[in-house]
């Protein structure tokens, strides 16, 4: 009993991780995403736009999770931005898949307004991935599904080049 209480105590204290702790879904407006991408520090930001209803998006998510795990401790930040979806569906999906990479939910009603703010040249297709490092003046835009290798290469490129 004492050992049990100790474990509970440690979990509550945040020392022991809960097994399969599903992350709480952060709901954001497009401005929050734009602010994040415009940070001028030497950190590479990987923004992936996806939806639970999008087949190729769901298929490539494990690659993002793997590279997220592999780049822990490096100056790489992931944001998996769920768009045109419902918070309930996305939350249920996250509990099932146990993704650890940060997932944000874009709480915007009208795509015709937020799409041009994110990228006026983007046609609106998903998935897309934007990899950006403001300090190095590097930006990589990828339309469609990405392989793990392509993702790794693009992150490496954006993180190591200078303008």
């Amino acid at each position: 009993m004492q050992a049990f209480l100790l474990v509970i105590g440690l979990i509550l204290a945040g020392i022991l991780p809960l097994p399969l702790s599903a992350q709480t879904l952060q709901q954001v407006k497009i401005q929050t995403v734009l602010d994040e991408l415009s940070q001028s520090d030497d950190t590479t930001r990987v923004l992936n736009l996806w939806a639970t209803w999008c087949g190729p998006c769901v298929k490539e998510l494990p690659h993002f999770e793997e590279v997220f795990q592999e780049t822990k401790g490096q100056k790489v930040k992931f944001i998996l931005l769920a768009v045109e979806d419902s918070p309930k569906t996305v939350s249920a999906f996250l509990s099932k898949k146990g993704l650890q990479a940060p997932v944000w939910f874009l709480d915007e009603a009208h795509a015709d307004q937020w799409i041009p703010r994110l990228d006026p040249d983007w046609g609106g297709e998903i998935p897309i991935t934007i990899i950006i490092n403001q300090a190095r003046g590097q930006r990589h835009f990828h339309s469609g599904e990405m392989t793990k290798e392509a993702l790794q290469q693009a992150i490496h490129h954006v993180s190591s080049q200078n303008k």
């Binding site: 087949g55 190729p56 009208h110 795509a111 015709d112 046609g123 998903i126 998935p127």
Partner: protein
């Protein structure tokens, strides 16, 4: 010195211009759109030139499986019902790679039958026209208007983008961009929004891009 500054400014402008031209993929509003000859679900080849009475076309790059297409199908049917008789029929084109199990020609026939499509549903197996037009997703709309240019009939892109401002939920639509553009064309008025964006399913391109 003044002359030098002028030439520099001119050079900068030229560079900016060529860069912009280089960057644009596919048709912009105002461009002349190419006709196609593509296989319809009934096996017959279809060109826009076949529609002698048409004043223009609602060309929609579409497919079978994309949930955002599925959410739009009833709106596509309604648009055809309302505007075909006024001279603007819908022509749907599936540009997805034919190896995608849900997007084969056979499945197109099934979907058209299930939904009772009264418009042409063509397969762009070589993805030639999706590239030429600059479609990136399904659904992706190009509204073409038949106009005279140098004494010849040409099809001009007058609107491109989304059907309306809420693809996933028809009940939440507050702006009917495509219908508004059609009404403007029919009334001989200027289209207020000529280029809009919406989220859709990426076109399944062949590997040899």
């Amino acid at each position: 010195m003044k002359k030098l500054l002028f030439s520099l400014a001119g050079l900068a402008l030229l560079t900016a211009f060529s860069f912009a031209t280089f960057q644009t993929n596919g048709y912009q509003v105002g461009d002349v759109a190419a006709d196609f000859k593509l296989k319809n679900i009934n096996g017959k080849m279809v060109s826009m030139a076949d529609y002698k009475e048409a004043k223009g076309f609602i060309v929609i790059f579409s497919c079978n499986h994309c949930p955002f297409v599925v959410a739009s199908e009833d709106r596509m049917i309604a648009l055809h019902e309302k505007y075909a008789s006024k001279g603007y029929p819908v022509i749907a084109i599936n540009p997805n790679e034919q190896t995608h199990a849900d997007d084969t020609f056979e499945k197109m026939k099934v979907r058209a039958q299930e939904k009772g499509f009264k418009f042409a549903y063509l397969v762009d197996g070589e993805q030639k026209y999706a590239r030429l037009y600059g479609a990136t997703k399904t659904p992706d709309v190009f509204l073409l208007n038949k106009e005279k240019k140098d004494g010849k009939d040409v099809l001009i892109v007058r609107y491109k983008g989304a059907i309306d401002n809420s693809v996933k939920d028809a009940a939440a639509v507050t702006e009917t961009f495509l219908a508004d553009a059609l009404e403007a064309l029919l009334a001989g008025k200027a289209i207020s929004k000529t280029d809009t964006k919406a989220v859709g399913c990426t076109i399944k391109w062949k590997e040899t891009r």
